[in-house]
Amino acid sequence: MGSTSSTLLKIPNVEVLMQETGFSPAHIIRLHDRFKALDKEGRGHLCPQDFGAIKELAMNPIGDRIIGAFFSPGKETVDFHTFVKILAHFRPVDKDRPKEPNSPEPINSRSNKLKFAFQLYDQDKDGKISRDELLKVLRSMLGMQVTEEQLESIADRTIQEADLDRDEAISFEEFRKSLEKVNIDHKMSIRFLR
């Protein structure tokens, strides 16, 4: 289709993007369409209000956190490259990827997916999920019937289970270890981004 290649050409640095993320041209175009649809004023980048306009996100308990994950600290806008790179985390893992020793890990590897999830909890980016941060996440994900005391006890027990070096916080390694039985590829992948 003629429009495919012409749309692709309009996107700057598309080759680099495709290589880094592993998306096919069809996906890049689709994501670009979506980007343009979200960017209602046609500024070429997205701001938090554009994400806020997605009605379903308001009904997601951690929706706002996820919106925050798109914006690197200090930046107020998301351009198309960042948008695609973040979404690349959710591409299903390529099972037959040849293991080249020197190439960097692809964005959608299991460990990178876990890192993304870890960053959602760890808001102050100190590499650890502290008790307060865990409390905040729990509060947002649990119904209103749960009281403060119950919440705190859940948080304490969670940390107790996962914390191996007894520092009252969950580091990335401990996080990864506690989730080794979970099928991350299945839980953190979106089919249509295959």
Binding site: R30, L31, D33, R34, A37, L38, K40, E41, Q49, F51, G52, A53, I54, K55, E56, L57, A58, M59, N60, P61, I62, G63, D64, I66, L87, F90, A117, L120, V137, L138, R139, S140, M141, L142, G143, M144, Q145, V146, T147, E149, Q150, S153, I154, R157, T158, E161, A162, I170, S178, L179, K181, V182, N183, K187, M188, I190, R191, F192, L193, R194
Partner: protein
């Protein structure tokens, strides 16, 4: 269990005692004059005070009795399913019940007096089911998968018809079936009527098996749209059979193909025309809202009949009528009418479906129609089954090359197994002309057997099959807390990212259509007021406020308003439990909308609000009694119960008997409230740089309104940023739309601390109204100037 058996026995007794005299009454006294006035002319020997007059009420009485019996049947089936393990789907049980009833009637009469006649089925039982299906159709999902649905409907049905017909003919020529008076054309005719997947059966079985929504919409959409093909094929082959073999040449064949285009598109177009008519009608009913609900059914039925009159596809007509009018009708009609229509639609559809299945069972008990030809029947079953599987896999393989989201193998298996045939096939078979098709009874028998096989057997095994296919996960070991938490977090993350990516295609076409629709079509078909309120976010906001208000009132009443006056302490409304301590001050401005207390309540309906949920507002009257710091809290149990479910766990939206929308409504409400509040909070603190006062009531009332107004400014501008295209925000208009914050301006909502004032009223023995009146007086001096400034 006992109750269901009792019900069954009751019905059996009722029927035997009742039906017998009925039938005897039918057969005798046929010469009686039907005119009511001549009732007394027959052999008057003296004045009869009371007469038994069967003939005058015969027809309506029978009809209503059968409706009643069908309802009882459904009741007992449901009871059975609750007390005994539900293995057999309801439809299967209803058919079996039909067998029993048919047996009773047969036993009484030696002939099957009550059969499912095709006109009854096609004109009185089928339309409402299709209307119900299309009215509740998830439009976005439907249209985004429309291409695939059409491929399955058109090519799939043609493939099925051709292969089944040809294979059967081949086997007949090979002599497997013995001696029959059938030709190739008749086999093809049979193939075309048995090929179509039936929407009634699909809904009935799939409702109990919760498959993912794409799979459901594919099967369901296919079953609705293949009527276009079925009608054409059936009519074409019927005409060919009537013409006779030699007269068919290329011209006739081309006419057949052309007629498909006309029938299918004509039917759909007619449906759209009626949808437009219906939307315009509902747009004009401002002053007489009570008949709105009636229009929906009347126009829907008209669409069906008109299409049938013009020999277009009636099912397609009703389908598109329902699909297209949904949005406008729901926006234009009064909330009460909307609820009425939804409930009535479900009742009618449920009732019709029950009757269809019961009669399908009854019709079987009739020695006249049964012709048993082992070869024919078994081969039909085999071919229908196999060719469905082959057809689905072939088409899916082709489709997956073009679809962005490929259809997985498991889904394909379920789709092919879900190709159920139902009453439509039987109706078509019963309409065959006996003269032209001498083997009509054989065809009817085979069709019935196929229907029973698919509905009962495939229905029973569908659920275990689905579960078996999906079981590939590792054994469910004891998950730790953090695993459970993270599992749920991942669900939410996935749902959010899917929303960000736009699961449904967001390309130029959909955007262009949305814009066109917003500007022109909505202008034509929607009430102006409805158009303004169309703002999705705002309408949810509005509905949540209403629900909060109602919950507040009902909770207060439940706890007994006397409880307010009896306690010496202040009525300590524990909003903290609901909102968290940092939000109590923000709360009154948004959430507590007391429009409920107004005497001239506008058009919202309290009935539409689910009341049996956990109240979102808890009036913690005796705070001390709420000592629930139990030491041995089972954290696991808590997580299990209270973690919010994500959208993924609520896939199956369409249901015959319920019409709740995706998530549990109170969960959605809570999450939404929280998100909106935190957004407004962050915006407020960012813009105003100041924290709102902790205790509002400490301020003088003037300061309070001032602060409230500032806050509203902030909230308005924030929300205005979300919707820059709206020149006027809906809640700045002076319409009936509730603007909670505006109302809060000229009458303050009930804050927790204001309830103190209820305490002195302890002497009153009146109802709550007196409290309200007492409080109303305080607010007579409305700050009008502020109000006008805001405008």
């Amino acid at each position: 269990m006992a109750s269901s058996i009792c019900l069954c026995l009751l019905r059996a007794v009722f029927l035997v005692c009742f039906v017998n005299p009925l039938i005897q009454g039918l057969s005798g006294d046929v010469n009686l004059v039907q005119d009511p006035r001549h009732r007394l002319e027959k052999n008057l020997t003296g004045l009869s005070i009371v007469t038994f007059d069967w003939h005058h009420v015969q027809t309506p009485y029978l009809v209503i009795t059968w409706v009643f019996v069908a309802g009882l049947a459904k009741l007992s089936v449901i009871e059975l399913n609750h007390h005994v393990i539900s293995v057999v789907p309801e439809s299967g049980l209803l058919i079996i019940l039909g067998f029993i009833l048919g047996g009773i009637v047969w036993g009484a009469d030696k002939a099957q007096t009550f059969k499912l006649l095709p006109p009854t089925f096609f004109y009185y039982l089928l339309p409402q089911i299709i209307l119900d299906a299309s009215y509740f159709m998830p439009n976005k999902l439907f249209f985004s998968n429309l291409g695939s649905i059409l491929i399955y409907a058109i090519f799939g049905t043609c493939w099925n018809a051709a292969t089944v017909g040809l294979s059967l003919w081949g086997c007949y020529e090979a002599g497997v079936m013995g001696n029959l008076d059938i030709g190739l054309l008749q086999f093809l005719l049979f193939g075309s009527l048995i090929a179509a997947v039936d929407p009634v059966a699909v809904i009935a079985v799939f409702e109990e098996v919760h498959v993912n929504e794409v799979l459901f919409i594919l099967v369901f959409g296919e079953s609705l749209l293949n009527d276009g093909v079925t009608v054409v094929l059936y009519n074409v082959f019927d005409a060919f059979v009537a013409l006779g073999g030699p007269r068919i040449d290329a011209e006739e064949i081309f006419k057949g193909i052309f007629s498909f285009v006309v029938v299918a598109f004509g039917g759909s177009f007619l449906g759209v025309v009626f949808a437009v008519l219906l939307s315009l009608l509902t747009r004009c009913t401002k002053h007489i809202q009570i008949i709105e609900a009636g229009f929906v059914f009347v126009v829907g039925y008209l669409a069906y009949l008109t299409a049938d009159m013009l020999s277009l596809s009636a099912i397609l007509s009703v389908t598109f009528c329902g699909i297209c009018c949904q949005k406008y009708v729901n926006a234009n009609m009064d909330e009460k009418s909307v609820t009425t229509v939804r409930h009535a639609m479900k009742v009618l559809a449920n009732g019709s479906e029950t009757m269809i299945f019961v009669f399908l069972g009854i019709t079987a008990i009739d020695t006249e129609i049964w012709v048993w030809n082992t070869g024919f029947i078994l081969l039909t079953l085999l071919f229908v089954f196999i060719y469905r599987i082959i057809g689905v896999f072939l088409l899916t393989w082709m489709l997956n090359k073009f679809r962005l989201v490929p259809i997985e193998v498991i889904d394909q298996v379920v789709m092919s197994y879900g190709g159920l045939r139902g009453a439509v096939a039987y109706g078509l078979a019963a309409m065959l002309d006996k003269d032209k098709i001498p083997e009509k009874n054989l065809i009817i028998s085979t069709t019935l057997i196929v229907v029973y096989f698919t509905v009962i057997l495939q229905g029973i095994t569908m659920k275990p099959l689905v579960q078996w296919l999906k079981v590939k996960r590792a054994a469910h070991s004891d998950l730790k807390l953090i695993e459970k938490l993270n599992n749920r977090a991942f669900d939410h993350i996935l749902a959010a990212v899917e929303d960000i990516c736009g699961r449904i295609g967001d390309n130029w076409w959909t955007r262009g259509w949305n814009r066109f629709e917003e500007n022109y079509i909505s202008w034509l078909l929607m009430k102006p007021k409805a158009r303004k309120n169309r703002d999705y976010l705002f309408s949810i906001f509005h509905k949540l406020n209403l629900e909060d208000a109602v919950n507040y009132v009902s909770e207060g009443e439940r706890q007994g308003s006397l409880a307010f006056i009896r306690s010496d302490e202040v009525a300590n409304v524990d909003f903290k439990k609901q909102f968290g301590s940092e939000f109590t001050d923000v709360m009154p401005d948004i959430m507590v909308n007391m429009s409920n207390y107004e005497l001239g309540i506008e058009n919202f309906s309290v009935t539409s609000i689910v009341k049996d949920t956990i109240p979102s507002v808890s009036l913690d009257i005796h705070g001390k009694d709420r000592k629930n710091a139990a030491d041995d809290i089972n954290a696991h149990h808590l997580l299990q119960q209270h973690l919010y479910r994500s959208r993924k766990n609520h896939r199956h939206k369409f249901s015959r008997s319920h019409f709740s929308i995706n998530q549990s409504e109170d969960e959605v409400q809570e999450i939404f409230q929280r998100t909106m509040r935190s957004r407004l909070e962050s915006f407020k603190s960012a813009k105003m740089g100041v924290n709102p006062a902790k205790k509002i009531t400490k301020h003088h009332k003037k300061d309070l309104t001032h602060k409230v107004k500032d806050f509203h400014d902030a909230s308005f501008t924030w929300i205005a940023q979300l919707y820059p295209t709206h020149s006027s925000l809906p809640w700045l208009m002076e319409t009936d739309a509730v603007a909670p914050s505006q109302r809060a301006q000229w009458r303050l909502p009930w804050t927790p601390n204001r309830l103190r004032r209820l305490a002195p009223m302890r002497v009153s023995t009146c109802s709550t109204d007196s409290f309200l009146m007492a409080d109303l007086e305080e607010h007579e001096e409305k700050p009008q100037t502020d109000h006008e400034e805001e405008m």
